[in-house]
Amino acid sequence: MRWEVRVTVRLKEGLNDPEGRVIESALRNLGYAVENLKVPKYFEFELESDNPEREVEEMCRRLLANPVIHTYEYRIEKVS
């Protein structure tokens, strides 16, 4: 069975986020009143699997995220 998967990986709250900070201040310098900017990692892919939930969960833990510093969430939809 074929699935469309979207994974979002975020830095845990409270961790230093230099990338978000630098991009936010670049936007503010251009004159936009931007706040709380985050740059989560975002993956989109198709997956052939009989057990997509388990496999995506595994992929996140093994490669896409590091549970020490990241939280992650995913959406799995059947390819029509």
Binding site: E19, V22, I23, A26, N29
Partner: protein
């Protein structure tokens, strides 16, 4: 003697050796923090490094800083503007040069010496090279993969080649279209290149092939 500004953004890190190379080639150079002014300079160098840590895209944030408006003015006056590595990325991001520099084909930082073929000796930075000359310089970048929608509008200055000057796929370190290592604007006074001529300006550091980029620029600025 012509005097050049070496612009330093937060995260620029090849400014000192670039300044040194210009002096060695016989010019005057001064490191200029990006919030200072470019008045009184005969040309500008945007040196290598990681302006804004390459966040977003290499060169993207530096390209939107006010000082780039002054750089655009200088370039319109026909003064020489050279972007090396991160400087090249800043020039494409600011629209001074066409195209974009994308992540390397193998998306990792790569630091090594390569051969280049000098394709165009009619620019402000290559007049002291022979047409077709093969030279050696190091590259050090993660986003040097040159791309443009319409290559017919691109004036190619340097191409990655093998030691004999052949433009072959094996000599392409990053996946650039047509092995492009450096390009200039139509007038030839704005040039961007991924390889580091300032690191090839001392016999102890692997060769002096890069020094003529700076001496050509000084000659040009004297005219």
């Amino acid at each position: 003697m012509p005097k050049f500004a070496v612009i330093v953004f937060p995260g620029t890190n090849c400014d000192f050796e670039t300044e040194r190379a210009i002096r060695k080639a016989g010019g005057e150079a001064e490191r200029i923090w990006y919030r200072e002014s470019l008045k009184d300079f005969d040309g500008v160098i945007l040196p290598g490094g990681f302006s804004y840590a390459d966040y977003l895209r290499a060169g993207a944030i530096a390209a939107r800083q006010e000082i780039m408006e002054e750089v655009k003015e200088l370039s319109k006056e026909g003064k020489p503007v050279l972007g090396i590595c991160n400087g090249f990325q800043i020039l494409t991001e600011s629209g001074l040069l066409p195209g974009a520099l994308r992540p390397n084909r193998i998306p990792r930082f790569i630091c090594k010496w390569v051969h280049l073929r000098v394709v165009d000796t009619e620019t402000a930075f290559t007049s002291l090279y022979e047409p077709g000359e093969v030279i050696r310089m190091p590259i050090a970048h993660a986003e040097g993969n040159y791309y443009a929608n319409d290559l017919s509008k691109v004036r190619i200055t340097f191409q990655y080649s093998d030691g004999n000057g052949e433009i072959i796929e094996d000599a392409n370190p990053n996946g650039s279209l047509l092995n492009i290592a450096g390009i200039s604007n139509e007038k030839g006074n704005v040039l961007g290149m991924m390889p580091h001529p300032e690191r090839a300006s001392d016999r102890w550091l692997g060769g002096e092939d890069g020094l003529r980029v700076f001496s050509s620029m000084i000659e040009y600025a004297k005219r």
